[in-house]
Symmetry: C2
């Protein structure tokens, strides 16, 4: 399963704290996307996470959890993505909460189901940047340094450039992908049309489409382009 | 060279900010220790680091740098140990300074010469604990969680339990070593006699002897026991 993420080009990220109708969920899950990621920055609980998992499990596609809080660790997902916020000013978002989670769940963790992500938060005005106190005002060389830290020092399997709500600098995203030798590059932020999906797919290994699902389902579905 | 650390059982750590006579340095370098580590928490500069490197280089044993500040990155060492302080409350000691260093030196770095260490600071009263604002008051399960974070999430080649100035809990050190599957376990702190060296060698893969060099050279040399 761990290796399957290598083949993911497009994923939808569903936020357990947001409402989605059965009809919209059905269209998302049968859209041809490669996987569903369940996760969000705020308001994520055990209950709303397990509810969403149960609804997505009716479909055949992979369903993975991106863990943002220890309270919302729910068994039964195919994989667990573990964000390591490389540009946070606070230790808790890089190792602190992770240590707590490993302490609490350590004995029962199937290590092969964990996928640590070297997260780089790049939109200063986003909820995730404020929450993690990220040093998000990074230049080109800073972002490349984050990617090298993620892959060369920490040997994380995924590097994730998160522009959260804003469409990023695709030249920089492409440069990061060309810098990485082993890691998979995830890109997220502002993908709200087929055109932007194509641009992001040309720059990153895997694109993550989130907010637009809740704003305009038709445009969200259009991001599932040929790839 | 990277793989050579696997065979290290005993290393001396020399602090560039402390004086050592040629005679004492000669005895340290011909003691039978496996390597010399150059590094310290405070007062480390480019000049005092390169001076010490030049003096140690007259001997045949490996000489490696443990980087604590970007100003003291000196070319010419066999390896560069990069502490990642897993239990720091401040992002700068886990990823922040590392990002700066990778930004500054990225293009000329031979990645294979870098050895990131998952550092766990365990003496609350030490200089390194205050400097890094480490959450050093850890229970047994917290330390095991740090080791798993170091090896399973970050895949760091070395996990380093640093009791800095205090002789640690050898039962816990042994438990950490038994938890680790791939990483090398370094132990440092309070090794000031042959007896303590033997106890630490029975618990860790590699023991690091530092302060006693500057307090009592005879007892420092006694720590190079049969192993």
């Amino acid at each position: 399963m761990h290796e399957d993420i290598r083949h993911w080009r497009h994923v939808f990220k569903l936020d357990p704290d947001k409402e989605i109708s059965d009809e919209h969920l059905d269209r998302i899950c049968t859209s041809g996307t490669d996987a569903i990621v369940v996760g969000g920055s705020t308001g994520v609980t055990f209950d709303n996470t397990i509810d969403l998992l149960a609804r997505v499990r009716r479909y055949e596609l992979p369903c993975v959890s991106e863990i943002s809080t220890i309270e919302a660790v729910v068994p039964g997902f195919d994989l667990y993505l573990i964000p390591v916020v490389l540009n946070s000013r606070q230790g808790q978002w890089i190792t602190g909460r992770h240590r707590e989670a490993l302490k609490q769940f350590g004995k029962m963790l199937p290590w092969e189901s964990l996928v640590p992500e070297g997260y780089v938060v790049l939109n200063e005005d986003s909820t995730v940047a404020r929450l993690t106190q990220a040093d998000a005002n990074l230049g080109r060389q800073d972002v490349i340094a984050c990617a090298n830290l993620s892959e060369k020092l920490f040997r994380l399997p995924v590097c994730y450039l998160e522009y959260s709500g804003k469409f990023g600098d695709m030249d920089l995203v492409r440069e990061v992908r060309d810098t990485l030798e082993e890691s998979q590059l995830f890109y997220g932020g502002g993908i709200d049309s087929a055109e932007r999906a194509r641009q992001a797919l040309a720059a990153a290994d895997t694109i993550v489409v989130g907010n637009i699902i809740y704003e305009d389902i038709e445009r969200a579905l259009e991001t599932v382009v040929d790839r």
